[in-house]
Subunit: 195 residues, 2 copies
């Protein structure tokens, strides 16, 4: 439960700063939907959001950073992952949905935005992976509460999330349901073995 | 051997087309080294390469595509991976070197370039993964010639290459040597088991 509360209450900047962020994010999403991500510029976004371009440059650095920030925000999980009654079922349901979302046109666009940003620290891609780790953490806590043997989050990141993203980013086709099930079964068999 | 010959003889366009590609690639590498990747533009590259900007747009589409193409070319393996006498040793040596190269500043820049390109087909990231698969294929053929049990290339892509790249792209720190060795050992144990 601690993990899922964390996922819902990540700090957001307050007050004026939060309003600027919201206006700029909204303007970016609207303009990207209207004109396509390749056609939008910082001055266009600034005009729509009612801020100066320098406000955007000061806060985000450049357009790639802003696009990445907007995309990470859209990847923030909206609720608890489905409870199917078993860890295997929960992982399969979560991973299939994640794979489906990320292999869609908008999902691929978000991944590209997130990976195109330069930011040396607080990389948007790391925030995106931490959202995934938090969702998986919820499933593992649920499994422990049921008394099921559960692998570590890191094990599932390496053995399930990593190949799933690798297929999306580096191969022509996303992972199949059978492959996803195979990765989950291997992780669960690993967790069931005495160390 | 077939795989390693393939790696060395991937088709390159011939004649005038090859000379244009080489001039544009060289101009891009030089200008990126002189001014940084963020400061270069298609007209700058065209002027240095002695071609018109429209030649570049026609052939590569946009700057992101060109940068990705140049980076993939730099990821093309230059020779056979080291022969240490065992598959475990070969995989470890290869993976450690790959991890070291890709976690460097230029390596991270290449990965970003390759993943930032839009190209829906013949994605640069897929070419980059196929170079990796070819190198691993050489190690597996070598192991089979020695009579060692060897996993499939796909198994190593999912269980070794995928988490290695996941750590580079989505987490603050690259994989450690111990983690790499653990992924290799798990894959080899998997291959040694009867199916």
């Amino acid at each position: 439960m601690a993990t899922s509360n964390l996922a819902r209450t990540l700090p957001r900047p307050g007050g004026r700063s939060a309003r600027v962020q919201e206006a700029v994010h909204r303007a970016t999403r609207e303009l990207a939907a209207e004109h396509g991500r390749e056609a939008i510029t910082v001055p266009m976004i600034a005009a729509r959001a009612g801020v100066t371009p320098s406000t955007i440059y000061r806060r985000w650095g450049d357009l790639a950073e802003l696009l990445a920030d907007v995309s990470v925000e859209r990847m923030r999980p909206e609720g608890e992952p489905a409870d199917t009654g078993s860890l295997r079922g929960d992982l399969l349901a979560w991973a299939e949905q994640y794979n489906e979302e990320m292999s869609s046109q908008p999902g691929r666009g978000m991944l590209r935005d997130v990976l195109s940003a330069q930011s040396p620290d607080d990389r948007p891609s790391c925030r995106c992976a931490s959202y995934v780790a938090m969702q998986i953490g919820v499933l593992l806590e649920r499994a422990q509460a049921r008394g099921e043997a559960a692998p570590a989050v890191e094990q599932l990141m390496d053995a399930l999330v990593a190949p799933l993203l690798f297929r999306l980013l580096f191969t022509p086709a996303p992972a199949t349901t059978d492959e996803i099930a195979g990765w989950i079964d291997a992780s669960l068999a690993h967790a069931a073995q005495p160390a």
